[in-house]
Every structure is written in C-alpha cells, then in structure tokens.
C-alpha cells in the first residue's frame, strides 16, 4: 500500500518534470487531452450520429458534400457526416489504444521482470520468445487471427497484443537487471525477504515508470495496426474507426474526389499518433537518456 502511495506521488512529480522540460512533449500531451475531451463529449459536439444518413432542408440525402457550415468535414457518398465519424472514431481509437497498450505493458513487464529476475534458462527462453515475436510480421498475423475469429476491435487488440509485447519486454528486462544490482535489493535479500516480496515491493515500483513509456508507444502502434487492418477490410464493421472511414472512401472509389473524406480521418489518425509519439519521447528522455529504442 505504502509502495503504491510513494509510487503515485513520485510519478506525479515526475510527470510535471517531464513536461516542463520537453516542449514537444507538452504539445503532445495537450493534443491527447484534446482528443480525450472530444471522445468524452462526442454526443454534444456533433449534430448527427456517426452512421446517420443526413438530409438537406429539401429532404434529399446530403450526398458527397464538401465541407460546409452544417457539415464541417463534409459528407460521405451516403450522406453520412464525416465530422461525426471522426469524432466518434476517437472513442474507438482510445479503446483500442488503451486496451492494447495496457495488455502489452502488463504482458511485457511481467515477462521482462520474470526473465531478468529468475535468470538462467528462464531468461534464455523468454528472450528466444521475444526474438520469435520480432520475426513474425505484425499486420499479416493480425489479419490471419481476425480471419479465424471474425473481425472485432477485441480480436484485433488481441492479435496485436500477442506480438507487440516484445518491445517492452526487452527493455524491462534490462531495467530489472540493473535494479536488481542496486544496494537496497541486496539489502532486502540479506534480511531474508522472499522473492515475491522483492518483486512486488522493490522491483515493480521502480520498473513501472519505464512501463508507462510503453503504454504510450503501444497505444500508438495499436491504433496504427487497427487502421491498417481496417483499411484492408478486416476491421470491425460495427465500430466507427478512422481506418474504416478510409477503407470506405477507398473502396467506393471516392478517394480522388471527396478529399475531405480522405484528409480528415487521415489527419486525425496522424495527429493522434504524433501526439503519442511526442509524449512517449518526452518520457523516454526523462527516464533514461541511454535508451535508444523508440
């Protein structure tokens, strides 16, 4: 309990420090906060539902209209409001990002710590598994999984997690190795603390900050993978996502005409991921200047 409290207060202090130093990071953070607000306030900032067929004042469907005051991002070929699609897509992005990122981090941290802590053949085995995960191509893997189970944001997250935990595992392992050499851990062992106590009370809290970097990075990757997979047509048909919007504009042959339908979801995606990258970079520079891995 006490460990958690200290960790929380320490991490909050850290947060402030991180962002005061790195301007880009601050920009990223503000961006993400804006996105979060959009996601939360979606029903209030949109006039139409994301799937709603909108009609003009004369009752005809508002087909493929360029941006206007009623439709700030224009409409699709079926009269759906692109602004609503982008706004509600933020929710899906956050869900996919958050779920996958947490899963990746949990899995990666767990394996990294176990691998480093127990050493020997456990370490060897875990690192081999990481190597294997690095060799498997990500999008094809996710598409194969989705083709078995049917497309949904959960299966996509699942598939992504199965491979993406690899990046955090290596780094967590390195970090655990260095922490394990620290005097306070030696002291704890000398007193006779059990392995699990050392793990939970000492190693985990110190490794957590690094994990948070990977939460951010993992979220960014997850959103990109979902976009790629949706673009190929294997995305969740019931979820509003930016990737799906882009798939629709591509498939209906409107890519070269309805520039608004291509630009805005693409921009939303791009800026979202950029903000995540800025934030994660800021964390990285703060926590471990030696870390080269992005």
């Amino acid at each position: 309990m006490a460990a958690l409290a200290t960790w929380t207060s320490r991490s909050l202090q850290r947060q402030v420090r991180v962002f005061r130093r790195d301007r880009l990071g601050l920009v990223g953070l503000i961006g993400l906060v804006c996105y979060a607000l959009v996601a939360i306030l979606s029903p209030y900032i949109t006039a139409y539902g994301p799937d709603e067929i909108t009609r003009d004042s004369d009752g005809s469907v508002s087909v493929t209209q360029p941006p206007s005051s009623r439709h700030p991002f224009g409409t699709t070929n079926m009269g759906r409001d692109v602004w609503s699609g982008v706004v509600y897509g933020t929710r899906t992005a956050f869900i996919v990002g958050a779920v996958t990122a947490l899963a990746i981090t949990a899995l990666g941290t767990a394996i990294g710590i176990i691998s480093a802590f127990f050493g020997r053949w456990v370490d060897e085995l875990c690192m081999r598994v990481v190597d294997i995960c690095y060799s498997l191509p990500l999008e094809p893997f996710v598409i194969i999984i989705v083709s078995f189970t049917g497309p949904s944001i959960w299966t996509i997250s699942f598939g992504t997690t199965l491979l993406m935990w690899r990046s955090s595992a290596r780094v967590i392992r390195a970090e655990t190795l260095s922490i394990a050499k620290e005097p306070f851990v030696e002291a704890a062992r000398a007193i006779g603390a059990s392995n699990s106590r050392i793990l939970w009370a000492h190693i985990l809290p110190n490794v957590m900050p690094i994990s948070t970097i990977y939460i951010a990075i993992g979220a960014g990757w997850a959103v990109l993978v979902e976009a790629n997979v949706s673009f190929l047509g294997y995305g969740d048909p019931h979820a509003i996502s930016w990737g799906r919007l882009l798939n629709q504009v591509f498939v209906t042959g409107m890519m070269r005409h309805a520039w608004w339908w291509v630009l805005f979801p693409g921009l939303a995606l791009m800026l979202f991921v950029t903000c995540i990258f800025f934030v994660s970079r800021a964390y990285e520079r703060e926590l471990n200047p030696q870390l080269k891995e992005l």
């Binding site: 067929i53 469907v61 493929t64 047509g233 798939n247 629709q248 209906t252």
Partner: protein, 564 residues
C-alpha cells in the same frame, strides 16, 4: 346455496378472464430476433449499404437485428454448408450471364425444393409442391407460349410468397477508351467484355492489342476450372462451343453450322467444315463427342449441371453427330451448346493417366489448345494473359487481347481512366460513372442488366418460416433509398428473379410493394404479432403459429392457397 354457486362461478369466470389477459399481455412474449448476413464493404459497398438500410427499417419495426458483414467465402459457406440454420436472412446476387437468359436456371436453382440442402442452390430452403410442379413443367415444355405462361405463374407465386425478395436490378455501366479502336459492341449481361466485341473491334492506331484490366487473376489455365467468374469468359475466347449467345441473348451457331431436331430428345448437329485447333489438327465430330462425354464422365463442377442433360453423343461422320438428351430440354442451345467446350481429343484423351493425376481438374494445362477465335499466347501469373488472334477462325478477329491484372478495383478504374487499359469488366460504381462521364478519354456505355440482387429469408427457421411475416416485411424495404441514394439512380427497383430486362420471360404484371411501415405494422398485427412494453416486436402465441402458415396448401395444377 345457489347464490354461493353463482358467486363461485362469477369468481371463477373473472379469474379465468384475468389470467387469460395476463398471459396474453404478460411479458413472456418472445421477441423477434434475426441474424442477417450481408456483404462487407470491401466486397460490395452497395449491398453493404442495402444491408444497413434493411437493418435500419427492421429495427424501426421493433425487430432485434444482428447484422454480420462477411466476405464472399464466409457468406457462401454460411448459406451452403452445415448448419443451415445459423442465419435468418441474407443478401446475395445473381450476376447476369447470357446462359441465364433462359428462365430455367434461376427458377430451378433458387426455388426447386430438390435443390435444398448442403451445397444446394436453393439457399432459402423454400419448399412448395405447387412451385415445384410449375418449375418442372416449364423445363420440359416445348411450346414456347405455354412455357411462358408457366414461367409467369411461377414468378407470380414467388412474388406472393416472397421467400426471397429482389432489391434492385442494376444498369450495367462500363467505360472504354476512345480513339484506339472502333466497333465497340455491348452485349446483354456482359457489357463490353464479350466475344462479339473482340471480334468486331478494328484498330484505329498502329497498336492492335486491346488491353483489358481486371482485379482477379485466372487462377489456373485449365479450361475445366471454374474457380472464378472470369476464367470461363477467357476460356471461351480460346475454346469454341457449338453455339454462342449473341448480343441479344439468342443462341447462334458457332462451331455448329446447322442443327435439326430429330425428335423431342434427339438433335442432329452438322459441324462447320475446315475448323482447326490451334496446333493445326482438324476439329471433327469425334472431338465434340469426346468433349461432351468427358464433362459427364468426370462430373466437372459447374459444367456438369448442364452437361448431365446430355445422355450421349453419337458420331455419324467427320462432321456430323447425333446428340441424345435425357429429357426434352428447350433450353439446350442456350445452356448446353453454348457452354460445353470442344476439347481436342488428341490432347485430353488419356491425359489423366499420362500425368498421373486424380482428375483432369488437377492438370495445370500450361498451353491451352482450343479452336476458338484467340490463340493462347502466354500467362505471366499475377500480371497478365496474352491471347493472339486466330486468323484461321471462321470469323477472324482483327485485334490481339491482353488481360492485365491490377490488385485492387481502384487501380483498375484508374487504369482505364488514365489510358493504361482500354476496358474493364466490373460494373462501375455510381460515383465512378460521374467521373468517367467527365473524362474525355473514355466513353461510358450503360445497358440494362438482367442480374438480380436480392435478400432472402431462411425459410427453415422463424421468422422467415412464417409466410405472413415475410409478406408483411415485404412492405419494409426502402426501395426509393436503395435505388436513388445507394445506387444514385443507376438501377431499377427489384421486380422479379427473371429481370424485366429479360423481356420475353419476365412477368410484367407483378409488383413488389413500396415502403410502407404502417401497412407492415398492421399486417404484422393481423398475423398475431405484438409489441411488448419495450417496443420490441414479439412472436404470436404458440397456438397462432399454426402449420398452415408454413407449408403451402395447393397441389399443382393448383387452386389458390388458403391465404389469398
């Protein structure tokens, strides 16, 4: 005493009344839930939108809809393989091919109860003795007018019972290049990708190769392989058939110079003299007899459906043969004569043994040799197929043919727009039609298409099983939206499985209802359906869903059924 009895009787009566109303209006009503399967956006954005439209309207009626978007393989597997009750409704389409101009194919494949079951083509599971009788009668009816009245009666009944409801018939729009070739000929059901077009084209420039852009590669260069829709079209350029279907959909003589009916089931065929295969060997009646027997012997899928109508082929002399049919079959010229290729016997006879294969379908057939208007040039897998004009053909083409593969439909369209290809096969999307019209380098041809795009009910399970439900929901299809918004006006409202463009056979008197949710609701209510407190549509109580609503009453030749 008497008062006590009266009181008791009164109490009992009131109690019964109360419990009756309680069970009827109580919440042990079963809500109507259905699973609808339709095309994913990547497969067909138009039918995807139709699926969404249907879902929206049905949800307005209070039905709980579970929508599944599937790709081609997944959807076909669901409606054709076990278990056959995992879905309530689905959307599909019947592409227009000239062989389908004869009504027998659509009627028997979709509605004949003999085709119900795993791998059967009657996906709806619809079984009606009356309709079966009509279908089987028209198949063997040699009097064309009498046959038409039977075909019309079948359509009428199908429209009334609506196991499957047509949604729209498209206008087939295609674009082709301007200024490079002259003589562009459109054909019913195919647009410009048809053999007559290639036979009529004359080059206007020095380049005499006409380039065709397509997404799917042919898969195998074996003519027996029907694995995607385009392979037989290409193979029909390389191989010849006894008859071909002309631009109006009428079978005309091709390899056969003439034929005459000897009896109801026997046809005497005279071959065109002087025909040669691409390797120089002459085409004889023996090759024709061999081919027909080969298709039957090996039960080649897709071809076998029509080949099995032929009981045997007897060689009279080099250029004459007598074909015996299993039963009288007026559609024989359209279906059998126009589809079964003439294979060179000297190549295919004994090939299976020589190559040590299990079936001729396994043969990679690297250099197909036929007697058609085009000779096989080469095939660069995944990239292109090149066919050379066969100058020995009785109607020699003036162009060579290049079949180019692009990996996505957008690239195909851009290729034609940009001049990298001369024409394409796939129908233009409504948005693409507008763009193509503005492009001076291409010309857009629009032809009425006799394909049918429909949604069907799985009549094996509720609610599709209840004919009164189907008839009520017939009023819940937003045809106006589908035709004008989804298809941007480039389509016609669904009428019948024999499309209106198929003028002779289509029944012009049948009409599907317009969208009217009030009518739908009142019909549902009249059928005993109710809405519960949460607004969900619920099934009638058990005693109302009696058998008479599931089966069909009359025996053919029929009396009108009890519902009418």
């Amino acid at each position: 005493m008497k008062r006590a009895v009266n009181l008791a009787a009164l109490v009992l009566a009131i109690g019964l009344l109360v419990t009756q109303t309680a069970t009827v209006s109580g919440d042990d009503l079963k809500p109507v839930e259905l699973t609808v399967l339709y095309q994913s956006t990547s497969w067909d954005p138009i039918r995807n939108e139709c699926g969404r439209t249907l879902t929206r309207t049905w949800e307005e009626l209070g039905i709980t809809v579970k929508a599944e978007e599937l790709d081609y393989v997944a959807l076909s597997t669901r409606i054709m393989k076990e278990p056959l009750d995992s879905f309530s409704a689905w959307i599909f389409g019947l592409v227009a091919r000239p062989e389908y101009l004869d009504p027998d194919i659509h009627l028997s494949q979709r509605f004949d109860s003999a085709n119900v079951g795993v791998d059967g083509t009657n996906f709806s599971g619809f079984s009606s003795a009356y309709l079966d009788g009509l279908i089987r009668a028209q198949r063997v009816e040699m009097d064309r007018d009498k046959r038409r009245s039977e075909v019309w009666a079948a359509q009428d009944y199908a429209t009334q019972e609506v196991p499957m409801q047509p949604l729209y018939h498209v206008q087939n729009a295609q674009a082709h290049s301007v200024g490079r070739f002259d003589g562009w000929t459109s054909m019913i059901g195919y647009g410009v990708y048809n053999v007559w077009n290639l036979l009529n084209l004359t080059p206007l420039t020095a380049d005499s190769t006409v380039r065709f852009a397509q997404v799917t590669d042919i898969g195998v260069s074996n003519p027996l392989n029907y694995n995607n829709g385009l392979t037989p079209d290409l193979m029909r350029l390389v191989y010849d058939t006894l008859a071909r279907i002309n631009t109006d959909g009428v079978p005309v003589r091709s390899a056969a110079q003439s034929w005459e009916t000897v009896s109801d089931t026997e046809i005497l065929v005279h071959l065109r003299p002087g025909m040669r295969f691409h390797d120089g060997n002459p085409v004889t009646a023996r090759d024709v007899a061999f081919s027909y027997n080969y298709f039957n012997q090996w039960k080649i899928p897709e071809f076998y459906t029509v080949a099995k109508q032929v009981q045997g082929v007897e060689v009279i002399d080099d250029l004459t043969l007598k074909m015996t049919l299993v039963q009288p079959y007026p559609a024989v010229y359209q279906t059998v004569f126009a589809q079964i290729y003439i294979l060179p016997q000297h190549i295919w006879d004994g090939m299976v043994e020589r190559e040590k294969l299990a079936s001729p379908l396994d043969w990679s057939c690297p250099n197909p040799v036929g007697s058609g208007p085009f000779k096989w040039g080469y095939w660069r897998t995944g990239q292109e197929v090149y066919l050379e004009a066969n100058t020995d053909y009785y109607w020699p083409p003036k162009v060579n043919f290049r079949f180019m593969i692009f990996k996505n439909p957008e690239a195909v369209f851009m290729a034609v727009m940009g001049g990298e290809a001369d024409f394409h096969e796939r129908r233009l999307l409504p948005e693409q039609i507008a763009e193509a019209r503005k492009n001076a380098k291409v010309e857009v041809t629009i032809a009425a298409d006799f394909g049918v795009y429909y949604f069907g009910w799985n009549t094996r399970v509720l609610p599709g099983r209840d004919s009164l439900f189907r008839k009520a929901i017939a009023y819940a299809v937003d045809y106006d939206f589908i035709v004008n918004v989804v298809l941007k006006g480039y389509a016609y409202k669904g009428a019948s499985f024999i499309a209106p463009a198929n003028k002779y056979w289509s029944n012009p008197f049948i009409r599907l209802p317009e969208l009217n949710l009030d009518t739908a609701r009142s019909l549902l209510a009249a059928a005993g359906y109710q809405w519960n407190s949460r607004g969900q549509l619920c099934y009638p109580s058990e005693w109302e869903l009696r058998e008479y609503r599931f089966g069909d009453a009359p025996q053919w030749p029929g009396q009108p059924s009890a519902q009418e």
